[in-house]
Symmetry: C2
Subunit: 418 residues, 2 copies
């Protein structure tokens, strides 16, 4: 490995999570540690990801976080870690192939030279790893060396190359807690009812699956969990509800927003806006509302659908301590990997064991990550397709452990704002 010296650039991209700022803090802490050893210079943050970077909208994080005492630095980083969203801002910009159109990359090179950037960290999901791969490929052919490392985050838990993704544990804790609490609420009446909880997830049902935790330790379990990994069948769905009514009047059905019929059409497709984002993904909405109508018409009962919506990815007050800790650690691991000469890789998590829970960090070539989707494997899905297996619970339970409580002032959590 040839040693290079320079500054660091870090950005956040894609949808926010409750843990992406913990990863940013981890990268900053990793860089500060490397700085002490004389390995790197300053760290810059790009506002709004690669989009802000191209507009030279950078912020010197070394200056920002080194102001005042080391206690002050620590307090700022701690507050950053518990803040949901993406403190630096985000973007959803798809870069062109560097082999066919290198104009934006030439602009990147210009900015990197100007700020003497030699280390580039990009925190994001699948689409962000595509950016990492392309930037890395471009710089491999340049005389100006840059080490490009991706750091995963997504509540969807669908990235290849990692046991689980930072951000998933906190979202899963929110979903399981909220489903348990809604079941306390809906259980109060004696008339038959169906409550449908619609959970985020396009092609992978990891987050909806986490609702199974609500039924642990003697609490009532959700009656149905419907994942996109299984074809949705309306008749089977209604039959499951009727069967649940044999033992209790209030049914809780958890559905992933991405469930589809046998013909491949999304459940509730008629309720969709039809618009797509820049990556060609369709905006999904409406499976819950659609099934609410179906239940009302076919079962003639009281029905309510609850879209868990934004709070499932931004409930910082209910973040998983395990998730925040790992999210920060994976950021530091990315810095260490770059210092050791790695580039074109994504930092990831490898599970050693579930009980006791033990993990280690690793890197994987980012080219093997981008575009792929890790779905929920068969052994995690119950044979009747409407619930999760004990093996899944073994997998997910360690990830939601611990309460990472932010600092409260006047009754509300205090967050970090740039």
């Amino acid at each position: 490995m040839r040693a290079i010296f320079g500054n660091v650039l870090v950005g956040q991209s894609g949808g926010p999570t409750a843990a992406i700022n913990a990863t940013l803090s981890g990268v900053i802490r990793g860089v500060f540690a490397a700085e002490k050893k004389g390995l790197v210079g300053d760290i810059y943050g790009m506002r709004n990801g690669i989009e802000g970077c191209l507009a030279e909208n950078l912020i010197n994080l070394s200056e920002r976080f080194h102001k005042g005492s080391s206690q002050n630095t620590e307090a700022m980083l701690h507050r950053l870690e518990s803040t949901p969203g993406a403190a630096l801002g985000s973007c959803r910009m798809r870069l062109p192939d560097p082999e066919t159109d290198d104009s934006v990359y030439a602009r990147l090179l210009e900015i990197f030279r100007k700020y003497r950037i030699r280390f580039f960290f990009y925190i994001g999901g699948n689409d962000s790893m595509d950016t990492v791969d392309k930037v890395n490929r471009y710089f491999l052919k340049q005389e100006y060396e840059v080490r490009v490392v991706g750091v995963p985050k997504t509540i969807d838990n669908d990235l290849l190359g990692t046991d689980h993704t930072p951000g998933y544990g906190s979202a899963a804790k929110y979903v399981a807690t909220t489903v348990r609490e809604m079941m306390c609420d809906t259980a109060v009446y004696t008339v038959r009812s169906v409550t449908i909880a619609e959970i985020m997830g396009r092609d992978a049902g990891w987050l909806a699956a986490s609702a199974a935790c609500a039924g642990e330790n003697g609490a009532p379990a959700p009656d149905l969990i419907c994942l996109p990994e299984r074809t949705f069948d309306t008749e089977q769905f209604l039959e499951q509800i009727r069967r649940a009514w044999e033992t209790h009047p209030n049914v809780m059905a958890v559905i992933c927003e991405g469930i589809r019929f046998a013909d491949g059409g999304y459940v509730g497709a008629g309720f969709q806006s039809g618009t797509t984002d820049v990556f060609g993904h369709r905006y999904l909405a409406g499976a819950g509302k659609y099934l609410e109508h179906i239940c009302r018409e076919r079962l003639g009962c009281k029905v309510r659908s609850v879209e868990l919506n934004l709070p499932q990815r931004c409930a910082g007050h209910l973040a998983s301590a395990c998730d925040l800790k790992e999210s920060a650690a994976v950021g530091r691991a990315a810095v260490v990997a770059a210092m050791h000469g790695q580039s074109g890789v994504m930092a990831g998590i490898e599970r050693i064991s579930s009980s006791p829970y033990h993990i280690k960090f690793k890197t994987v070539p980012v080219s093997q990550v981008g575009g792929g989707v890790r779905t929920v494997p068969d052994e995690f899905i119950r044979e009747d397709n409407f619930g999760m297996t004990p093996a899944f619970l073994d997998y997910v339970k360690p990830l939601i452990v611990g309460e990472a409580r932010p600092f409260y002032r006047d009754g509300l959590p205090e967050y970090f704002y740039f």
Copy 2:
């Protein structure tokens, strides 16, 4: 005051909250204290309110909570206090006027005689206080003496005769926290957007108003808060959004589900099911979805509407410590009032001062409570009608203070189930 001795009956009614079980616990604690003084016998809980009572579906709470050691009693009551929902179950049953149809009351008398019930506590909102009033009126004319006391609860904070209602503080803390967190989330992109948060509330906007707390202590404030106390005007609404865009791209609009146009029609009335509950209230839904469409069409921007839905009334994990403490205390105060001979009253809260926050408990004739709605007064609403005044913040801030954290096991809050 003539002393009477007998057993106690307690029930919960109406929509659940995160604090109604704290009040139940307070009543139980109050009765246990009175029992030690030899003032009362056992306490029975009615399953599913007055409906379960008429079906003689009672549970002996003295037996249930006195099992095992006093430590065990304390642990069970503590868990009950932090549990959302209504642990005894609830109902929405409207009693007939005792003067015109006394059949259900005769049945009540029969059950009261059988279980030697002399004290009747009913925890609920406006409709439940109507029940308290009727039951009290009936028993005033009987030879069998019963003391009937209402204990308030509602997230809507719209009951007359009390400074605020148990349950409101926890819901307000949830709303303010969630709005603050959603603003962290929606602030990440640079494109203009509108996020509409739809908050529960029929004729009073207290809960939507609590979102104003999100902007305290340097955090960004919601851009608009629309209450049912003010006529909704679409053009003014859009104008406020355009004005907010002059300083930042991501607008947060908080709306109460009960907002209406000048003609009295609910905003988004076309989206409603048209069904009514047994009290003649229309089920509301859709103001958020309706305004989402309006914004998309008229402003041509990215819009998302988020219905906070059930979690705002059942998020036990985020309950206000002040609210839970007061909710339990008002339950104990109701027992004390009954022991002192009061009947036909509702226990309530009187505010001595906001800073320092100091309250005392009182009782009011329940006949003055039922049917009335306490709306947000003019001095709490900003002159432009789209926000709250400092006087309102002085009022609401003490109510959301303190984190009443439940016990966590395997990453999830543990709740109480009968």
